[in-house]
Subunit: 348 residues, 2 copies
């Protein structure tokens, strides 16, 4: 029997706050009869959005928090002040075992800073990382780190790979997901020092390491997890978001130009809709923070109820599979004794 | 009167060699009556592809070279051996003033290594960089470095910005192109040390610096030049190539699924063609090597005649505008006396 999951939802987070978080919670409860949700935030604001018929009564509750983290609040400020923010209180509930996971569409920097402070990292983990999936030619590709760690050592990159591997095994039910290390192919001596050293660590590890991958491989190659430092990973992801947005806009414009193109668009509509659906970013909403003693899933700030419900669904799977425990065990078995113990690495 | 340009074309370079290089040269000569082209490579192979009617006689010549650089040759090996490769001989012609620019679709690493060795960097330039344009919401964006320099100091990034600025002014006839520094927005203390220091240098410079840009801004923001180190720039560009390719394939597949979708595709064809044309990568073929004492334009290895002709056209503009001289003068005026001289930087 898998655990019945309870999600602490930062109900004030994101661009739309309770207007999106509450409907997304209700949708999620509707779909998953095992789920419980704790809405964390301003009680009066939340109460008036709850269903009048009292359905989900036993599975939906409100936990009051008097403050909210704004999108432009600095993480340091949030950490020092705003001790009763919905974001922080949601994390407290996870720490205290009241909830199994926290989902927030709030400020990423603040969420990461609070999560590290409140939940702490797993033993042996130097730095938590952010991982998310993008659609790819063969299905989708998970990428980490997406911005939590700007400068990374080879050992950090190795830990990211391990964390990504354990998460993706759980999320995707894959036995041996393929891990690639993001690099460039143009230079004689490829990559920087950290990447070259990380290559060696990964090559000697228990992971299903397929070697270096380049930027285009994220979308074209059969790779399940792409590992990079947070600077590179973030820029690669954001580049993709920008390009996809521009192409989407241009496609729309092309069909909207005049009567003729509008008619053509009408004819092509069903095909274009299916195409759009395949790449719908809402499907991919939800970036997991890995390496913490608890489950935290970050939703896009501008997520709608469909997108946010996907982030909640992701958190639920992580609860059911016990992802932090899987990562913790693995990291312990690899790094516990000695960071240089090759035989351990291989047999871990 | 602008200079009549002579291009040394590495006629053996690229995936298709003379089958593409010769037709592209002929197209270019057809279009530009001021242009001369020297085809560098195997004389017998090239000769048989020349027009039988002897047109372009005074403007088209063959310069024999007995070797060719393969796509997987290591730059070090090419540098040591293959002294009579078409790539190297084409660069020699530029060095010796016989040609004004070299265009090659060959191995990027080898071309950069040879170009540095044969042509040398401009005085004051630490490292040459690779710059190219991508389509964007508002037109297009030039990005550098795209892979020549993996680890970069703040000063390197500053020099890239100056080189990109002078090139883009010339290529685009822009008075004050906007320069952005690629960074991430998620972290409390944004970016790594080099980026933060480069920010200060750029802020105090004569450049039209608009500050940090994120990955999505490459496509969505009004920025003309995006500066990054070669690792990040390459991965961002390759990520874009992979995503664009995947989307193109998926769109094609969507319309090819069955009779109905094919009919829809037929109706949408003119619109989709116009859309495709706008983002045709062949338009954007041609990456300039900047910071050298000569003009070198790298074409995609798999370029067809249309794409390669675009790379030649780019080289021609750089010749006409005297881009290396513009960059050299600027770098000299900024960096000649002291690298820390703020007043010079501002008034340069």
């Amino acid at each position: 029997m898998t655990k019945k999951p309870t999600i602490a939802l930062d109900a004030m987070g994101g661009d739309h706050g309770p207007d999106v978080t509450v409907p997304a919670a209700l949708d999620s409860l509707e779909r998953n009869p095992d789920l419980s949700v704790i809405l964390v935030g301003d009680e009066s604001e939340l109460k008036k959005r709850l269903p009048a018929d009292g359905r989900f009564a036993g599975r939906l509750s409100i936990h009051h928090a008097s403050e909210r983290v704004e999108m432009d609040d600095s993480p340091a400020k949030v950490l020092r002040n705003k001790k009763d923010s919905s974001m922080r209180v949601a994390l407290n509930l996870v720490r205290d075992g009241v909830a199994d996971a926290c989902v927030s569409a709030g400020n990423t920097g603040a969420l990461m800073a609070l999560a590290r402070f409140v939940l702490k990292t797993l033993p042996g983990i130097d730095r938590p990382a952010i991982i998310s999936a993008v659609p790819s030619r063969h299905g989708h590709t998970h990428m980490l780190d997406l911005g939590a760690n700007v400068d990374c050592t080879a050992e950090n990159l190795y830990q990211f790979a391990v964390m990504g591997y354990e998460l993706v095994r759980a999320l995707e039910n894959l036995d041996r997901p393929r891990v690639g290390l993001l690099n460039i192919g143009e230079e004689e001596i490829k990559g920087n020092e950290q990447v070259k050293q990380a290559y060696k660590l990964l090559e000697d590890s228990y992971l299903n390491f397929i070697g270096y991958v380049e930027g285009d491989d994220i979308y074209l190659e059969e790779v399940d997890i792409v590992v990079a430092d947070g600077f590179v990973g973030n820029i690669s992801l954001k580049t993709s978001e920008g390009l996809a947005k521009m192409i989407g806009e241009a496609l729309k414009q092309s069909f909207g130009r005049n009567l003729f193109t509008k008619l053509a668009g009408l004819a092509a509509m069903p095909v274009l809709s299916a195409f759009k659906k395949r790449f719908d970013p809402r499907q991919y909403n939800g970036a997991s923070f890995v390496g913490l003693r608890g489950i935290v899933v970050k939703s896009h700030g501008n997520a709608d109820r469909v997108a946010l419900a996907n982030a909640i669904r992701m958190a639920v799977i992580e609860v059911e599979k016990g992802v932090p425990m899987l990562i913790g065990q693995r990291i312990e078995s690899i790094f516990a004794d000695s960071q240089g113990d090759e035989s351990k690495r291989k047999s871990a």
